[in-house]
Amino acid sequence: MDKVFFKQGGSWIEGSKVYKKANDVWVEESDYSSVFNSNSHYTHMIYTATDLVCDGTNYFDTGFAPFSADNLNKDFKITIYVSNLTAVSGGNNQDVILGCKYEGTLGGKQYPGIYFRRHNGDLSRFQIGGATYWTPTIASVLDHTLYIWRQSGNWYAQIENETVQTLSINTTTFDQNIVIGAGIQTNGTPFRYSNCTVDFIKIEYI
């Protein structure tokens, strides 16, 4: 019987089953050698989507909770391309494009988690916790590929090939998924909706 392993968080993990999607249906495979193509590069994908329209009233749940006990020490990377960002009418210019934040104090940390959001007039803000952030202009972020990643406990952000921003970690364990297009309050209610198009996003383990 073939076995399949994948490496995650520095450890090899054995898979119990392997599926391959064909004709929009997941099919369980038994012959692993025929599943994997030696001429292919495989990305350990967590979530991917294209053309997500955030209209100020909706949001998209990626299903991935990076600060959960299972995922807190796993390295991952977000690649996102945002366009058509405009302030939500009646909002407070803190419209959340992408976020996973505990809206309060938890484990001695204020507002643990991450936000990528509008920050008043012409600025956006990539924020770790309550007080650590990087504030690029909206113009520099829109219509460019933005990378956000966590590696060995540090957070990094980069607009295409520009300088990598390093932000220290400020977090604790909590079960909140990364959400696109809004923030989520501690009672589960969405707020700080955004108006934008996420042309492309992928979240992958690195």
């Binding site: 399949v4 994948f6 995650q8 993990i13 054995e14 898979g15 119990s16 089953k17 392997v18 599926y19 391959k20 999607k21 064909a22 004709n23 929009d24 249906v25 997941w26 599943v35 994997f36 193509n37 030696s38 001429n39 292919s40 590069h41 495989y42 990305t43 350990h44 994908m45 967590i46 991917t48």
Partner: protein, 132 residues
């Protein structure tokens, strides 16, 4: 009639029959006489770029070869990671070999239960851990 060999009183005076020059081996702009006694007009060029498009069994594709002094190109085995055996005959005179290996981008997902139907695209792979 073309003449390639002349003998006088039993002695060979001129013999072109063993000559090996051909149009492809003679530099352009030059002429010679071939083994058959007919004129040979040079067609060979140096310093050009020879484009080869040979897909080997391993999937490598030779897209271009820049030849400094040679136009002699033969098919060679290029591995999928783009390496080649430089001691193999036929690489002499190459200043550069460019290899583009076609690698497809695939995704795989992991999870502790069976994948949901909305996850992923055709061709993607899902590795389940645990469960039954």
């Amino acid at each position: 009639m073309a003449i390639s060999k002349i003998r006088l009183n039993g002695v060979t005076q001129i013999d072109l029959t063993q000559d090996t020059v051909t149009a492809s081996h003679l530099h352009t702009g030059y002429t010679a006489t071939g083994a058959d006694g007919l004129p040979v007009v040079g067609e060979a060029e140096t310093g050009g770029i020879v484009i080869v498009d040979t897909i080997d069994a391993a999937g490598g594709t030779i897209r271009s070869v820049t030849a400094a002094n040679s136009l002699s190109v033969t098919s060679k085995t290029i591995t999928t990671n783009g390496t080649y055996d430089s001691t193999d005959e036929g690489y002499d005179g190459y200043s550069e070999i460019v290899v583009n290996v076609e690698v497809s981008e695939m995704n795989y997902y992991t999870g502790s239960s069976a994948p949901s139907s909305s996850l992923g695209s055709n061709g993607d792979i899902y590795i389940q851990t645990g469960g039954s």
